[in-house]
Symmetry: C2
Subunit: 201 residues, 2 copies
């Protein structure tokens, strides 16, 4: 997705060979127009899949997921990273280790909002080691929901999350894939410019 690559090139900050900071438009400040375009792009990739629900995780997955849900006209459910007092019973849960935060969270989704009748699009902002996506997959599987695919805004192709998920047979659609973060430079995989992306947008 060309617009996203331009945004990463203009505003992304390479903190290390594994960390790209995109706090100006995705992870702290959010660019609603960009999220709207991201929603349209995901919707075009999954529009024929019969999606009934989008499953994401707080907090940075919410904006792209809600914009995609607006286009596909389906609800969005976000997994919580821990229990709150108003939501304690009847949860599907999974443990997720965050390499960024160096801690394990319990993520949970109420069994009221995902079921065996759902065809789920799993979404997240980043795909690195795949821990969050695998946690969402585990929750969808516990609910016996059908998983139509996994939509990712930025995939780190040099980490193994994408391979892990694809080897398990899941369709992973990443709007942009980073091949390396070396010497303060973001390198993108060529196939990021896939056939569905308008190069002149």
């Amino acid at each position: 997705m060309k617009l996203l690559i331009e945004k990463i090139n203009n505003e992304g900050i390479v903190l290390s060979s594994s960390v790209l900071k995109v706090d100006s438009f995705l992870n702290h400040q959010i660019d609603p127009q960009l999220m709207h375009e991201i929603g349209k792009e995901f919707a075009s990739r999954f529009e024929d899949c019969g999606i009934t629900k989008i499953l994401t995780i707080e907090s940075s997955g919410i904006a792209p997921a809600v914009m995609t849900g607006l286009q596909l006209n389906v609800p969005v459910v976000f997994a919580r990273k821990r229990k709150s007092l108003t939501l304690v019973n009847n949860l599907y849960t999974a443990s997720v280790y965050s390499f960024t935060k160096e801690e394990t969270s319990e993520i949970s989704v109420s069994n009221q909002y995902i079921s065996e009748n759902d065809k789920v699009l799993i979404m997240d902002d980043f795909l690195a080691n795949g821990q969050a996506a695998l946690g969402l997959v585990e929750i969808a599987e516990k609910a016996k929901a059908n998983i139509a695919g996994i939509g990712i805004v930025i995939e780190k192709g040099f980490q193994d999350g994408g391979s892990l998920l694809r080897e398990k047979g899941y369709r992973v659609e990443s709007l942009t894939t980073i091949s390396a973060l070396e010497n303060g430079t973001v390198s993108f995989e060529k196939n990021t410019f896939s056939k569905k992306v308008e190069l002149t947008r």
Copy 2:
């Protein structure tokens, strides 16, 4: 906002005389079409105010804020509830006590994304005791930003957050105000569309 009141009447669950659970469309599952309408409503109320930025707090503030940002064509910044390793320096912070979670969080916003040049619309999903909104006000004031107003999806009129903020001189726009949660029933202020909410959902 009639659509929102209908949604609360149809799907809201009164857990106690102070807790209304709206997990089916706002706090856990999100209804993107409703959020889109909410965004248009907030935009119409604040369109002449010269807003340059929306300030909200993770996680449930994000969806309505991003939809409002889409309409007003301004960025959204969400305060984080604790620090992550990729965002440690140069923060504006405030302490927020949550009566629901019975704990105090440190909320923070990077000084890169809010400044004295901003005219800020503060937004949140609920206004009860006003702790979260006051924390966001504190952050905006530390940044010397101008506060145009505070946009709330659901105000609990029987708790003192709204009075506190209005007494401080802030314009508070709530899309719906609940006057009481008694006997499993949601009562609304002003143009009420109140009716019995089933306790056993």
